[in-house]
Amino acid sequence: MNAKPGIASQQTLLVPRRITDLVGRALFWLLILAIAFYTMAPFAYAISISFRTNAQVLVSARYLPEDPQLINYQNLFEDSDFMRTMLNSSFVSSVTVVFSLVVGSFAAYALGRVQFKGRMIVLYTVLAMTMFPQISILSGLFAIVNDLNIFGSTAALIFTYPIFTLPFTVWVLTSFFQGLPAEIEQAALVDGATPFQTFWRILVPLTAPALVTTGLLAFIAAWNEYLFALTFTLVSKSAQTVPVAIANFGGYGYEIPVADRIAATVIVTVPVLVLVLIFQRRIIEGLTAGAVKG
């Protein structure tokens, strides 16, 4: 990606006026600092809380822990239930992402590169699926999940998550496929490749960055999903995912174990943050190609 910074590059062209320049620089860095503070401070505070005990958190607010302790983290890592919810979340999200990418890339290829009757209808039907609030289909889904005898298992989540990941995947990937030059297929067809070979051997590798981006976004969506997970795993703790576990941590009532909860928040956010850090470049590249044409 050839990033072309807009504002910075023309600073060299301006007549050097030292003082205004200096003030501008200072203001710019102030802005950066403000943004950094705005986005990071709450999470930093979460980390700070996670080193205090419940009793301390309930009594007073402090910017930094008075005597940092690891007790919350110890509790969490010794809590096999919590570790299982981490496993459940990883499992459900990964399967959902792989499924959505495979199935979605098929559909996206058809919608993005092939001219056929009914294309627009299919495209808009898929888009319409994203217009429904999750909550309004909850009871209908509940009936299906019950009929299929998968209520209370991670399978119920794997079965239902494509409702929101699949249309999204299809939508973003379609615009990627549309962006690729048409010569690719023509060359392949001249070489005697079948349409499926063209798709699988040539186009899919070309869109690998897009697949990574879409996959990551879908992963985060599935990892963060709360409502379906809450409803379909209500009766069986063994299938619960991380958001449900944290929201229900220590039950209800006045003595909510705040510090434990926040420590859990920190732990579950770290994997996603690591993923975002690794793929940060890719995400922006991917969206550059996808969002604009949308």
Binding site: L13, T130, I137, G140, G294
Partner: protein, 634 residues
């Protein structure tokens, strides 16, 4: 049966090949017929539909009555609950003496009258409460009686329409019938040695095979696991026995697929246009996505619409009734009235301790009160009256405008959601734009900064709501209060989420913090494709930075902004997690109101109507946006 030979085949098929083609086309037609047959079988054997046509197994309260007039005893009606019926389950025992039905004394009635009463045939379905209160005397061993009363629910069959709609609906039957018809037609065309049909047949066999494999795995797993996962050992016997039919079905499919592939260019004939070839290829690729969407999304969506027309309730001991648009009228009926404020001693409007104006009751509320006074208690129970949703103070007067509704909480939910959506989307756009522009310029640590701005977005919404509920605690222990007090901005702790506090602003702030980064991300992507030379040229021409922003950045960014706005608006209209975690149930968003109705009061039909309302609102917004984007592009 006459076999039609190919007209101008590439080569005449041998006798065996003719038979093979016949067999394969027969197989296709058979599968099509099987789809029809299975649909009708499913409808015919469906429990709910059978109950609707034949009545429930044990109708009514499940109670037989015998008239007894033994010598030396009073004549009386003896109760005999039918085994498995509702009366037995409610605690009525054989030998109890019937005293009253729904509060009415039975002495003096004939046996036929009593039986008719118990069946309640004369009660129209619309007003039936689906239960009967039975008073009876229970003989004790010492010869005395204890007087008792039980409320017994009635087994009533649903109407056929409801039974069918709730069990099958429209989408799945139509899809099954359509596909079945297509398969029969395909089989027929295959017999005419049409190469297009043969190619379609290959596609059909391929997907049927894949479907059978998936079905086998599914049957193996679902039947093997006993009950909820992990509660029982895996039952391999049952699992294998259920998976085998699917595996067996693969054999003829695979044979047909292979054979057709081998001979397709030799014995089949005809021309195929590029368009039809592409169409087939596209639909082949679309099969999995469409089947997932039909399986997972179509039915629930359709069910939501159907249920919203009924008074369905979870775990209620009665069938749902079709009430058409009653749910919607109840949700949406509202009245407006002007109200005067209560005057204090100085002749000014009185204010409550938290600063809000104290209003008098409105004319509508008076009317409703009078209406209620004239009603019987049963009517009063059913009647939904208009009550206050909210009151807006009119400027420059002592009057206020009061909005009253039959479901005031829902009216407020609409207001809350719209307020939330407009404010949060606008703020997100502004903040997102600032962040995106800042992060787009070149400076040391830009990569790190870009990752940092994604932190809020990476935290699960419900989890970040929990985090904010800690940060924004309403007393000394909230860090935000402490920060503001240390900075000298406020002098005493602020209640951020209390009903009298700035709760809407707090909710919006939490949501903006969470989603502005995503907005920034989308906008950053848009900024990156604006060519840098545009700015250079503008700078050479002496355009100021402000000018550059308004005449280059904004216009070039417009499509991206439009897409980002659509995404965010739709999400904001569906807002759920922050309201659910941070506020109580009296201040809902539309989605949390839907949830509360479903989970707390279990009124499925009513909740579905709320869901449909959300959908309609989102639909309107989408259409508006799509229009807007189109106009901008052309």
């Amino acid at each position: 049966m006459t076999l039609i030979p190919p007209s101008v085949g590439r080569r005449r098929p041998s006798e065996q090949e003719v038979i093979a083609v016949e067999l394969i086309s027969g197989l296709l037609m058979l599968i099509g017929l099987f789809a029809f047959a299975y649909l009708f079988y499913a409808i015919a054997t469906n429990d709910t539909i059978r109950e609707a046509t034949q009545g429930p197994e044990i109708p009514g309260v499940g109670l037989n009555v015998v008239y007894k007039a033994p010598e030396g005893e009073e004549p009386h009606f003896e109760l005999r609950p039918i085994e498995g019926g509702q009366a037995g389950a409610s605690g009525i025992k054989e030998g109890d003496w019937l005293v009253s039905i729904d509060g009415e004394d039975v002495s003096g009635m004939s046996l036929a009258e009593v039986q008719a009463r118990l069946e309640e045939k004369d009660v129209s379905r619309e007003e039936d409460d689906f239960e009967i209160t039975i008073g009876f005397l229970r003989p004790k061993p010492d010869g005395t009686f204890s007087q008792q009363e039980r409320v017994v629910p009635k087994n009533v069959a649903p109407t056929l329409t409801i039974a069918y709609l709730k069990s099958f609906g429209f989408v799945v039957p139509l899809v099954v019938i359509g596909l079945g018809a297509l398969l029969i037609r395909l089989g027929n065309r295959l017999r005419r040695y049409d190469i297009v049909a043969a190619r379609w047949a290959i596609v059909v066999f391929l997907w049927l095979m894949i479907g059978a494999v998936v079905g086998a795995i599914w049957a193996f797993w679902v039947n093997g696991k006993g009950g909820l996962v992990g509660n029982a050992p895996f039952n391999y016997g049952k699992a294998i026995s259920r998976a085998v039919p699917y595996l067996l079905a693969i054999i003829p499919l695979a044979l047909s697929y292979r054979w057709l592939n081998q001979v397709i260019d030799e014995i089949f004939d005809g021309e195929e246009s590029l368009m039809s070839r592409q169409t087939r290829f596209a639909w082949t690729l679309l099969v999995p996505t469409l089947s997932v969407l039909i399986l997972v999304a179509a039915r629930p969506l359709e069910q939501t619409f159907i249920k919203s027309l009924t008074d369905d309730e979870f775990s209620a001991n009665r069938p749902a009734r079709l009430i058409w648009f009653d749910n919607y009228t109840r949700l949406l009926s509202f009245k407006l009235a002007t109200v005067e404020c209560k005057k204090d001693d100085n002749g000014e409007c009185a204010r409550s301790p938290n600063g809000s104006i104290v209003w008098q009751t409105s004319s509508v509320e008076e009317e409703e009160r009078n209406k209620l006074r004239e009603m019987s208690s049963a009517e009063r129970k059913r009647y939904a009256r208009y009550s206050e949703a909210s009151t807006l103070a009119l400027p420059f007067s002592d009057k206020g405008l009061r909005i009253l509704g039959k479901d005031p909480i829902f009216l407020n939910a609409i207001g809350n959601t719209l307020k939330f959506t407009v404010a949060s989307v606008i703020l997100e756009l502004l903040l997102g734009l600032i962040i995106a522009m800042a992060v787009n310029s070149r400076f040391k640590g830009r990569g790190l900064m870009r990752a940092a701005m994604l932190v809020p977005w990476a935290i699960p919404t419900v989890v970040s709501a929990v985090l904010w509920s800690v940060i924004l605690r309403g007393d000394q222990t909230g860090i935000f209060n402490k920060l503001l007090m240390d900075l000298g901005i406020i002098s005493k702790p602020q209640q951020w989420f209390s009903a009298n506090g700035p709760w809407m602003a707090s909710i919006i702030a939490v949501d903006v913090w969470k989603t502005a980064p995503f907005m920034a991300l989308l906008l950053l992507a848009g900024l990156q494709v604006i060519p840098g030379d545009l700015y250079e040229a503008a700078a050479v021409d002496g355009a100021s930075k402000v000018r550059q922003f308004f005449s280059i950045t904004l216009p070039m960014l417009r499509p991206t902004i439009a897409v980002a706005l659509i995404f965010r608006t739709l999400d904001a209209l569906r807002v759920f997690d922050v309201f659910q975690v941070l506020l109580d149930t009296t201040r809902p968003s539309m989605a949390t109101y839907n949830y509360n109705r479903l989970v707390l009061t279990r009124s499925d039909g009513y909740a579905s109507a709320v869901g449909v309302m959300i959908f309609i609102l989102i639909f309107i917004f989408t259409v508006l946006y799509v229009r807007f984007v189109r106009i901008e592009r052309e």
